[in-house]
Amino acid sequence: MHQQHIDPLTKLITRNYLLDIIKTKLEHPNVMNKLALLYIEFDDLDRFNELFGYDIDDQLLLQLTKKIDNLLDAESVVARVGNYQFAILVYHDDVKTRSQEIAEDIMGILREPFCIGENMFYVTASIGISVLSSDISDAYKLLKTAENTMRRIQKNGHNNIAFTKLLTDESLKKEIELMKDLPSAIDNGEIFFVYQGQYSHDKKRFVGAEMLTRWNHPKYGYVSPFIFITLAEKSGMIGPLTIKLLIEASKMFEKLEAEGIKDFSLSVNISPVVLMEKSFYDTVVFLLDSYNLRGKNLTFEIMEDTVSNNIDNFAKLLNKIKDLGINIAIDDYGTGHTSLSYLINLPIDYIKIDRSFVTGIDKETKKFLLLKSIIDMASTLDMKVIVEGVEEYSEDDLIKMFKDMTIQGYLYCKPIEANDFMQKVHPNE
């Protein structure tokens, strides 16, 4: 075999050679649904180097290669496709089951520590699997879709296995259509905003609301925000949508003030894509200068994963935003899988505790104690707490025991349209 086909360290075949092998296999009849590719990335190996010295990663890779090689039968081929990435080509009559078995076996290997010198290391991995099909029918696509699936796992917290799911023709068509319709929907009001009140136990009134986006599409009806927000992020429309949201907030402040409601805050979700736009800060400054918006009444909600994974990128920006008086809230607190150091390194005013920590606190003492410990921690760090997903009176009674709690949940207010919301928060109601 040619030298450039072999990785000098692990002696495994390289990415290009793997692609050649797949191409050769594709020339055989009946490989459809019998060929799969596992794309594996090992997490944090580079950081082990920083912590324990150069070469630890090489030694780990050698041990990993050996253990993985021992798992595989003659029909499978393993390649090193990147610094910390391996790919395994699997051929089997029931390739899905076999791929799952191999992926689980690899996860099994990783549960045991690797010993190097005096140190023991635990390695985790994310594994994306693609099966050859009419939609994934060439070598490059097989490798690439498996890699993309692996990246998706990493985004959702690493250390897992997933198969590539392709969109059916119909859902792809719908997605393309929605993407095309997005700009006009933002312009013509098909996309609109609803309000979910935030109730303060201490003040016994609504002290704020989260603004949520809805799309009532003429052909498809209500489109899930998860779908169209993702499409807006992909198509560059999330910026204009966020501008519209902030201007809508200014209109709501005008209405509230006209009714004598002051000291009220509105929260808006800010997508990581928007945070990374160079012009975002200038846009916010323009909106504060030109519309009826005051920073102190405005809260930007940012997903926990966004900030915790990008502290260095966002710390400066969030501090500048904070200087404009705007509050920062961490959304879905507790769902990320990362260290808590970001809580001290970023200017955070609120944490919004995810519903998963709330549902059932009236039935399980441990759940209640966990919620209590989060509330205690927030109070120690001088952050306010908004509890999400409160749906039962028995849950609410327990939350009332804590001071200065704000509740956002169906028990007090569903997401409702602006006019209904005005009725709800009106002091005479």
């Binding site: 700009p183 006009s184 933002i186 312009d187 013509n188 009001g189 429309m237 910026g239 204009p240 501008i243 519209k244 201007i247 012009s279 200038d282 846009t283 323009f286 200068d289 030109s290 519309y291």
Partner: protein
């Protein structure tokens, strides 16, 4: 002093454009008079009455198209610069004799400001 005409049937957009232009005026220390219209008839009335340096015209209006305004404006005020404001600029690319510029909707801060200055040749 420059005079511009903004045409859009959605108040939200007109308000946003006015605020952006005021922001430009502050930044560049300019004096610009802004007129607005929300439909073709209203816009054509204003064109008959006033002389404009530039017009920014939404293409999709309740009583017609931005094209109906551009045709009148080209004839009556050949020196005025005309921009089409549209979600689909590529649809109008062959209408260059009526439009000096195609501006994209939804409006983005930076590109709107840049294009506005270019249109007014500032």
């Amino acid at each position: 002093m420059k005079r511009v005409l903004l045409v859009d049937d959605i108040d939200f957009n007109l308000e946003f454009e006015i605020k952006l232009i005021k922001n430009i005026m502050d930044e560049k220390d300019l004096d610009i008079h802004i007129d607005t219209a929300t439909n073709v008839a209203n816009a054509n009335d204003l064109i008959a009455l006033n002389r404009y340096d530039a017009m920014i015209v939404d293409m999709n209006l309740p009583d017609g198209s931005g094209m109906d305004i551009a045709k009148v404006a080209r004839e009556k005020q050949p020196d005025a610069k005309i921009a089409a404001l549209t979600i689909y600029p590529s649809q109008y690319e062959d209408q260059k004799e009526y439009f000096d510029m195609f501006m994209k909707k939804p409006i983005m801060l930076d590109s709107y400001k840049d294009n506005f200055l270019k249109l007014l040749q500032i």
